[in-house]
Amino acid sequence: MSSAGAGTTISLARQPDAAAGRAAPKGRRRGPRRPPGLPWILPAFVFVVGFIYYCIGYTGYISTLNWDGVSPNPQHVGFANYTQAFHDPVFWDTIRHTVIFFVVTFTVQTAIGFTFAALLHSRIKLPNLYKVIIFVPVVLAPATMAPIFRQIFSANGQFNAILSDIGLGSLAHPWLAQSSTALPVIMAITVWQWTGVTFILYFAAMTQIDKEILEAARIDGANGFRVLTRIVWPSVRGTTIALAMLSVIGALKTFDVPYLVTLGGPNYATEFLGTFIYRISIPTAEVGYGAALSILLLILALCGALAFGLRGTRRN
C-alpha cells in the first residue's frame, strides 16, 4: 500500500471523468480536427503494458512448470501447482489473514481517520501540529520503522514497560513471539502507518461539504454527533468506498511489515500472500509454485478492485 496504492483511491472518484472523456468526440466537431494522439501515448503504453503484461504472461507460463529457477530442463506439470496451492493449508492461512487484516485495518483506520478529520475541522488549537504527527508515518518507509517496532513489542520493549506503568503489567508478554498476538501487532503497525492517508482524504472531502447545510442542521437543533452521523458521514461516502478499495489492494499487497517485523511467523501466524510468494520463490526456489500463487494473487487483486470499482461507479 505505497503511493501506487494511494492512487487507487482516485480511480473511483474518476469515474465521472472517464464518462466525460467518452462523450468528448461530440465536442470535437466544433473546433478544428484533433491531431492523432497515438504517438503521444505510445511510449508510456508500450513501457507499462509491454512490461507488465510480459511479466504476467511469463509468470503464467512458469506457473505450469516444476522449476527451481536455474535448471535448464524445467518439467511441464500443467495445473499441478494450482492444485498444490488449493491443498496447501498455509495458502488458506494467508487468505484468512488477508481478510482479517483488511476488515480490521480498514475499520480502525476509517474510525480514527474520520474522527481526526472531524476534530480538526472544529477550530482546534495548533491544528498543524496534530496533522504533522498523524501524517509523518506515511512518509516514513516501513523498512525503516520495522526495527523500531520489533524493539517496542519485544519482551522487554517499551510497550510492556508502558503496560506495567499504567498498572496492566499482567498483560505484558512477548507480543511478536506468540501466534495469537503477532497478527494484531502487524495490523496495529499498519494502522499507525496509513491512518494519515485516511485522515487527509477525509479532511479534504469534508472541506467540500456545504457549510450552510451544517448550519441549518444546527439551527434545527442537531447536536455535533447527529451532524456527524447524518450529514458528514453520508457526504464523504465516495471517499469511504475509495478507501475500501485502496485497503483491499493494500491488504493483498502486504509484504514489508510482516516480512521485516515477524518474517511471517511465528508458525505462519503473520504469513500473507506477499511474504508467502517471496519465501516460496526466492529462498525455497520453488519458482513454479510461487508463480502459480502469484497468478492467484493477481486474480484476487483484480476481483477486489473490480468489486469496489463497480460499486463506486454505480453510486456515482
Binding site: 501506487a4 494511494a6 503504453f45 512518509v139 516501513p142 526495527p147 482524504l201
Partner: protein, 262 residues
C-alpha cells in the same frame, strides 16, 4: 464539524484529540529514546563512521531521480494524448494501463529476476528503476489526464487556429499549465521510489548499489546484537524524510488528495 462555542467543549475536544494522537507519536519517541540507549550519542557516531550511510543515500537518490524522470516524461506525453488528442479505442488503452494499478510487486519477481539476469541488469540501478517506473506511471497518468481534462478545449482550438502544432502546444500550454499536478506526481513518485523495499531487496546485492530501505538489514548483520545501533541508523534515514515532508507539507498532502477532489 463540532460546535465549540463553550470553553468546556473546546477543552474536551482538544484533550480528546491529544489523547488520540499520542499512540501516533509514541513509536517516534521510542525510536529516538532507543537510539540513545547504551552509549548515547556514540551510537550515531559509530553508525556514521562505518561510512556506508552516504552511499546508501546516494543510491536511493539516484534511483528516485531515475524513476521520477521516466515517470514525469512519459506521463506528460500520455496525459496530453489521452486527454486532448484523437485516439481510437482510447478508453481501451487507458484501462489496459490502469489494470496495472492493482498489480502487487511480488508478482513480478520471477519474470523480472530471470529477465534481469539474462540481460545483465542484475545488481544495477536499472533493475529497480525500470519496474518501479512502470508501476508508478498508470496512477500518474490517471491523475494528470484528469487534470488536463480540466483545461478548456477552446485554448487548444485557438492555439491550433493560430498554427501551433501538437508539439508546440505540448511545450507551450501543457507543460506550463500542468505544473501543480506535476509537483504532486513528483512527490508521490518520490515517496514510492524512496520507500520501496521488495525490489531493492531482490535485485540489489552489494552495499554500493543498495538503498536506504536496506540499511537496517545491513546494520543488523554488521552489529548483530546491538539493537541500539540499528535503531540509530533508522533515525538517520528517517530524519531527511521528515524534514522533506515538513518543508513540502502542502505538496505532500496535495499529492495524496489530488485525485480525490476536483
Amino acid at each position: 464539524m463540532f460546535e465549540t462555542r463553550r470553553l468546556s467543549s473546546k477543552i474536551i475536544l482538544q484533550v480528546l484529540l491529544t489523547i488520540m494522537v499520542l499512540p501516533f507519536l509514541f513509536p517516534l519517541i521510542a525510536m529516538v529514546q532507543e537510539s540513545l540507549a547504551g552509549q548515547g550519542w556514540d551510537n550515531y557516531r559509530v553508525v556514521w563512521d562505518t561510512g556506508v550511510v552516504p552511499e546508501f543515500f546516494r543510491n536511493s537518490a539516484i534511483i528516485a531521480a531515475g524513476v521520477i524522470i521516466i515517470v514525469y516524461c512519459l506521463t506528460m506525453l500520455a496525459a496530453y494524448g489521452f486527454s486532448k488528442l484523437h485516439i481510437r479505442f482510447r478508453e481501451v488503452y487507458f484501462w489496459m494501463m490502469l489494470a496495472a494499478l492493482t498489480l502487487p510487486e511480488v508478482v513480478l519477481l520471477t519474470p523480472l529476476f530471470s529477465t534481469a539476469t539474462s540481460l545483465g541488469l542484475y545488481n544495477t540501478y536499472d533493475s529497480v528503476i525500470l519496474p518501479l517506473a512502470a508501476l508508478q506511471i498508470p496512477f500518474a497518468v490517471l491523475l494528470t489526464r484528469n487534470f488536463v481534462n480540466g483545461i478548456p478545449d477552446d485554448l487548444f482550438d485557438a492555439a491550433r487556429v493560430d498554427g501551433a502544432n501538437a508539439a508546440v502546444i505540448f511545450w507551450r500550454i501543457i507543460l506550463p499549465l500542468t505544473r501543480p499536478i506535476a509537483a504532486a506526481i513528483i512527490v508521490l513518485t518520490l515517496i514510492g521510489a524512496w520507500n520501496d523495499y521488495l525490489l531493492p531487496l531482490v535485485f540489489l546485492q552489494s552495499p554500493s548499489t543498495q538503498t536506504i530501505t536496506l540499511l537496517p538489514s545491513f546494520f543488523i548483520s554488521e552489529f548483530s546484537d546491538d539493537q541500539t545501533k540499528v535503531v540509530a541508523s533508522a533515525v538517520i534515514t528517517a530524519i531527511p524524510e521528515i524534514i522533506a515532508y515538513l518543508c513540502l507539507q502542502r505538496l505532500f498532502e496535495r499529492g495524496l488528495t489530488a485525485g480525490a477532489l476536483k
